[in-house]
Subunit: 405 residues, 2 copies
């Protein structure tokens, strides 16, 4: 009997009616002759509600306690879903991350899965039960509850699929799949039938929100095919798997963007070894996630270094730079008004001229490029936030990504 | 260093401000040189909210899943309280029932504590931490979450106090202690400085809501003195302990009442052995909690049997009686409009005439007594619901229980 792993996001289980709807889907998969394991997120915005409560009490709550708090949201949805399945006359059992054998390291609020003890999972499946697992959480070697960070439920699902040797991992969400661009900005954006792990990683890293980076990394590492689908329709969704011959190798598959970048520029940095290491070491120490980095050509023994961070990291970055700017004898500028537009495509590496076409398209649209960074299957341009929407639309059009119907 | 166990009820931790207030009390106990273990209930009406969600999905949710669901409420409060204590610069750790070693049987939604594994508790206390334990929950031999039923957090606190050899167990609630009567009905009701376990058991069994029966039984069994106090004031509260010489032996200590009784009467029951066993066996089978039972003198080979149940048990009782009434050849009547008034006092057993005074007082107040039941330290009268308030006031006055100031 094949094993399938499904994951339902928070909007899919928001309220009694949606929970009943999800229960019917799960029962259908069970009745079709599968062993079914289901990972569930917290209902709707309940995690945000819990965070709000925590911040009414403490500006910086201890992370172990935050995990104890936040892990309750998924327990609520998994218990309610079990009840809904029982109402349909099938037997389901809800398991916490701990009960499901999700073992993690001790890094609270962003723990990594270190292994899956499948004993109880397999036992419950063998006894004919549908197994529901609280997503986003695990247990540390200290027997404490940990959480896996944003998108953690996807990672739970992928880890379970890998550990149980499931044929695939179905990610049910509130969108129809992975699109060529955000349909909210580009009305004729098209659903992609399949995307390679590599493309999906670049898309997640450059702003596509449908899957979090870590779950895609995990799926790639263990070779688990992902299938992103809507929990509200029967539409076919998007498959994310190893790049293969059958896969359409578009030069450009999608346009992605972010609107919450801040640019920091260090002026007249002494052009001697170790300076960049000092700067980015201090930022890493402060837990600031640095995105694009550019160092201009040096002039008269000094150079300018620019980099972007997510807006939420800006206060931390400023503090870290202030602490070292004096010693280095440098000033810095902040531009808090930035965004980033990217094109991603597995075929890009074998087609020259893609970058030139991107820059040309942006120029024609009157969009000034402030920074550029590339990988073999992605080109990103940092631009003014106010021009992001226009840039996405122009690139989607220029690379012919829309519905041609 | 002495160990003290405190328990805070749901209203004491309802909202950020109250949680901070409770944190200050706990820190004060810690700073006074105690090892402090704190048991916390779910915030305000959050347990009812969770139950409401469950009932939107299922009229009769599986009890294991109900426990998974309901146990989250206490985890939320215990995590938030840990954060509040950290804000005050002390170190606290929250533990689930499982982590705190609260072992129970497998009877979900009303599990009994079978033991306390104190290993981790003691380890955390030894390391100087304030230990916060999610009340109302434990872990079954199957490694599943169980809950202890209504008032379960009190029982958690008493069990921990017993297991840790704590000098006493402080129960913080939203009232000032145990009163001679419900102050909502009797404005001059007086706080009792001390009450014996036996009196408290009778009071809890006859309607006093300040402590649940099972936690008092547990405290008596292990000789743990309870101290009921308000979390909103510094008032001295009420001590509940073994009856001793110092304790004021009032003939009557308190008047209690319930307003949610239903009376069922079986008419012309054949007066032969085994009939009562059949009736009450069927009710026990249906999980109906029968309170007062009266069998009238038999007449012409038949007898009438009356008993009361809580209103919530009425549908179950009716169903059970319908199933056996035919076989027994009896009819039954239901009066859903009943209440009960009781007087409780450890001194009662050595004073004759207390019952006569009670009946006379009720008669003078125009209250008709429908059923009577007694123990050595309690007399209860089943009366019409609409007369309960008047009866309580008259008895409180007649036995001189009010403030004499």
């Amino acid at each position: 009997m094949p094993t399938i792993v499904q994951k339902y996001g928070g909007t899919s289980v928001e309220g009694a009616e949606r929970i009943k709807n999800v229960a019917r889907r799960i029962v259908a998969a069970h009745d079709a002759g599968n062993k079914v394991v289901v990972v569930v997120s917290a209902m709707g915005d309940s995690t945000d509600e819990l965070l709000k409560m925590a911040h009414q009490i403490s500006a910086a709550p201890p992370e172990r306690e935050l995990d104890m708090l936040l892990s309750t949201g998924e327990r609520v949805s998994v218990a309610l879903l079990a009840m809904a399945i029982h109402e349909l006359g099938r037997t389901a059992i809800s398991l916490s991350g701990n009960q499901a054998g999700i073992q993690t390291n001790t890094v609270h609020t962003r723990a990594r899965i270190t292994g899956v003890e499948t004993g109880r999972l397999i036992e419950e499946l063998e006894s004919g039960k549908i197994v529901l697992v609280a997503g986003f959480q695990g247990v540390s070697p200290d027997e404490d509850v940990t959480t896996l960070g944003r998108g953690g439920s996807d990672t739970t699902a992928v880890a379970l699929a890998a550990a149980l040797g499931a044929g695939q991992c179905e990610i049910y969400t509130d969108v129809e799949g992975v699109y060529t661009a955000d349909p909210g900005i580009v009305p004729d954006a098209r659903r992609l039938a399949s995307v390679s792990y590599g493309e999906m990683l670049e898309m997640a890293a450059t702003g596509a929100e449908v899957l979090m980076l870590r779950s895609v990394e995990y799926a790639q590492k263990y070779g688990v095919p992902l299938h992103v689908r809507s929990s509200f329709s029967g539409d076919p969704g998007t498959c994310i798997r190893e790049e293969d011959e059958e896969m359409e190798k578009a030069v450009v598959s999608a346009v992605t963007y972010t609107s919450d970048e801040s640019k920091l520029t260090l002026l007249r940095v002494p052009d001697r070894p170790g300076v960049a290491a000092t700067v980015f070491g201090a930022l890493a120490e402060a837990d600031v996630n640095v995105d694009t980095i550019i160092q201009n050509v040096s002039e008269q023994g000094t150079t300018d270094i620019s980099f972007t961070v997510n807006q939420t990291d800006l206060p931390g970055a400023q503090k870290a730079l202030q602490a070292i700017a004096g010693d280095l004898g440098v000033a810095f500028l902040i531009d808090n008004d930035m965004g980033k537009v990217s094109i991603v495509g597995a075929g890009m590496k074998s087609y020259p001229g893609v970058a030139a076409k991107m820059f040309g398209t942006l120029a024609a649209a009157g969009v000034n490029i402030e920074m550029i960074s590339t990988s073999s299957i992605k080109i990103s341009c940092v631009i003014k936030r106010g021009q992001v929407k226009k840039a996405v639309q122009a690139l989607h059009e220029a690379f012919g990504l829309g519905n041609t119907v």
